[in-house]
């Protein structure tokens, strides 16, 4: 008889444990791989390797021998492998094609200063620019046409506008409903209301989008009397509908899991049910309610369809009654028509990577705040 240590004693359990560990690792690996893939496609933008200038400096075909192979390869936009398989004649033909392409540029752009700039440089991505034909420097997202304008700020503003309106609308409603259902409602009411609200999350966002587009837009315009029928406000409210069940469900769980002992203590002190819910249960459940809101933020910022259907003009405006175009909407609408590997494609991937980073950071901050809350409630420092 001997006392076995480790996996020798229970090989089955040891194996199962390792297997589960591997599976959980693979989940982390997947997320990492997705991020790496997205980031890889976006890297050329970060390193300034994309160029959208319409009029490029030209190397005359005759000067072929004065340039190094590396220079030529970059000039002809070829990969090193492609370049090495080509003989001199092919390269000459390609250089001719390049010069001919220059002649294809429409007359009116030849003298346009905008045709000479690389619009994927950071200053054009972030700062307003005096585009020819415009009265003042502006931030414009206009990825099609001869001069492609890629200013990201209108998209950031559009995302923020719709997301914040959605959260401002959804968080009070969802948390209020959660307080009511978990603390105040009679069991019969609770058992009806809870599944009905949670059923909202099963509605496809396309359906919510259609409803917002056809019904809500008209109703809201009648109530508030603004100019543009389809705007960030309508999109935000519709987003709110998509987010409410997420926040409600988690907030309700958090409120229900507050120990009954707290409720009883408050009631025994002579607090009303309302006072108990508001002053005792809600503060005790605040970490959970906050987590619910962070998750709702993630859902709102990632929601594509609703904003795409309700409004999608990328105007640079902080007014909630103007249109807006969110980052996800942009990616969904434009990815299919962006040239594979081109500047537009790269910038869309960069937007994706930024979105990924934004949700990651918001979750980190959320987690940090929740821990602070919890430690404070539990008397740890």
């Amino acid at each position: 008889m001997g006392i076995h240590r480790g996996h020798q004693a229970r090989p089955g359990e040891w194996l199962a444990e390792k297997l589960i560990f591997l599976i959980s690792l693979s989940a982390i690996g997947m997320v990492l791989l997705i991020f790496l893939f997205v980031a890889r496609e976006a890297l050329p933008v970060f390193f300034g390797q994309t160029d959208t200038a319409l009029i490029q400096p030209v190397i005359p075909t005759a000067e072929l021998d004065r340039h190094s192979p590396a220079e030529l390869q970059r000039y002809l936009e070829l990969t090193p492998e492609q370049f090495t398989t080509m003989d001199k004649e092919t390269i000459k033909t390609l250089m001719d094609v390049k010069i001919e392409a220059l002649n294809d540029i429409p007359e009116n752009f030849r003298n346009d200063p905008d045709a000479k700039i690389n619009t994927t440089e950071w200053k054009y991505l972030l700062r307003p620019h005096q585009w020819s034909g415009y009265e003042k420097p502006e931030r414009i997202w206009q990825p099609v046409g001869q001069i492609k304008k890629f200013n990201l700020i209108p998209l950031f503003v559009g995302t923020l506008k719709t997301t914040l309106i959605g959260l401002l609308f959804a968080v009070p409603l969802a948390v209020g409903a959660a307080i009511y259902v978990s603390q105040l409602a009679r069991p019969r009411v609770r058992e009806t209301v809870k599944p009905v609200i949670e059923m909202l999350s099963g509605i496809p966002s396309v359906v919510t989008g259609v409803f917002a587009l056809i019904v809500m837009a008209t109703v809201l315009q009648h109530i508030f009397g603004y100019q543009t029928r389809l705007n960030a406000f309508v999109a935000g409210i519709a987003l709110g509908f998509a987010v409410i069940p997420v926040i409600f469900s988690i907030a309700e769980d958090a409120l229900t899991s507050v120990p009954r002992a707290y409720t009883q203590a408050a009631l025994a002190l002579g607090a009303s049910r309302w006072q108990t819910a508001w002053q005792i249960v809600l503060p005790a459940a605040l970490p959970g309610v906050f987590a619910a809101s962070v998750l709702g933020f993630g859902r709102a910022i990632g929601e594509t369809m609703i904003v795409l259907m309700v409004c999608s003009a990328s105007v640079m405006s902080w007014s909630i009654f103007d249109s807006a175009r969110s980052i996800t909407t942009t990616i969904a609408a434009e990815m299919a028509e962006a040239v594979n590997g081109g500047p537009h494609y790269r910038i869309l991937f960069m937007l994706g990577a930024l979105l990924f980073a934004a949700t990651f950071v918001s979750n980190m901050i959320g987690d940090f705040v929740i821990h602070r809350f919890k430690n404070k409630l539990e008397g740890k420092r």
Binding site: P187, A261, Y262, Q264, A265, A268, L269, G270, G379
Partner: protein, 271 residues
Amino acid sequence: MTDTLMPKLSVNANDPGAVAGSPFIEIENLSLYYGASKALKNISLNLDEKVVTAFIGPSGCGKSTLLRCLNRMNDLIDGVRIEGSMKIGGYNINAKDVDVIELRKRVGMVFQKSNPFPKSIYENVAYGLRLHGVKAKSDLDARIEQSLQGAALWDEVKDRLHTSALGLSGGQQQRLCIARAIAIRPEIILMDEPASALDPIATARIEDLILELKKEFTIVIVTHNMQQAARISDRTAFFYIGELVEFGPTVKIFTNPAQKRTEDYVSGRFG
């Protein structure tokens, strides 16, 4: 806080409305049903003011249920129905027009498991005071100190009033709950096995505290600990499966009970 809904409960000699000599808490033919099952069976019991009464009996005998009738905490459970009358200071507390909040201000409660709020020590005691209209900082400070001293906790926590109450030991937490209950100056304090989760030293401190509180409050305590009932109570009521078997002075219940069942229980033959 105005006393519009219910006059002071105490039977006070100076109170012209009071009936001299009538018991403080009168329970008459009280039955309680959870749905169809009858948890309390025709209980009649009179309790006097500023006396410690212990409810004893085996688990499930209804002693906690009866205790919770006294501040209507059973209202929170669905399907509870009460018959018979329960009067405190001459007022039927089961009447429809009784303000439960006012009743609970007069009848405080301490639970089996200490349940301080996840707030600071100061805020725990301040909560009940604020509920009942004490707003000024100086009043709050004074009454919080007074209550914590009343609960024999002040010296231990006076330097850490604004730290979380959950950082206190179990015994300290239970004394904080007592401080919280006495802060709003109830007339009756209900205690549902207040020391059952505590070690012997913490239990002894709670028991000393109860004897001290007896001077000011009417105390009803549910306990499983026979020695505890014998040490701290003046009267003892023995319950068995929803019935009141015997009620009388504690000394009599423990030394010369009238009923065979009581004798068997207090001598440890069952329970």
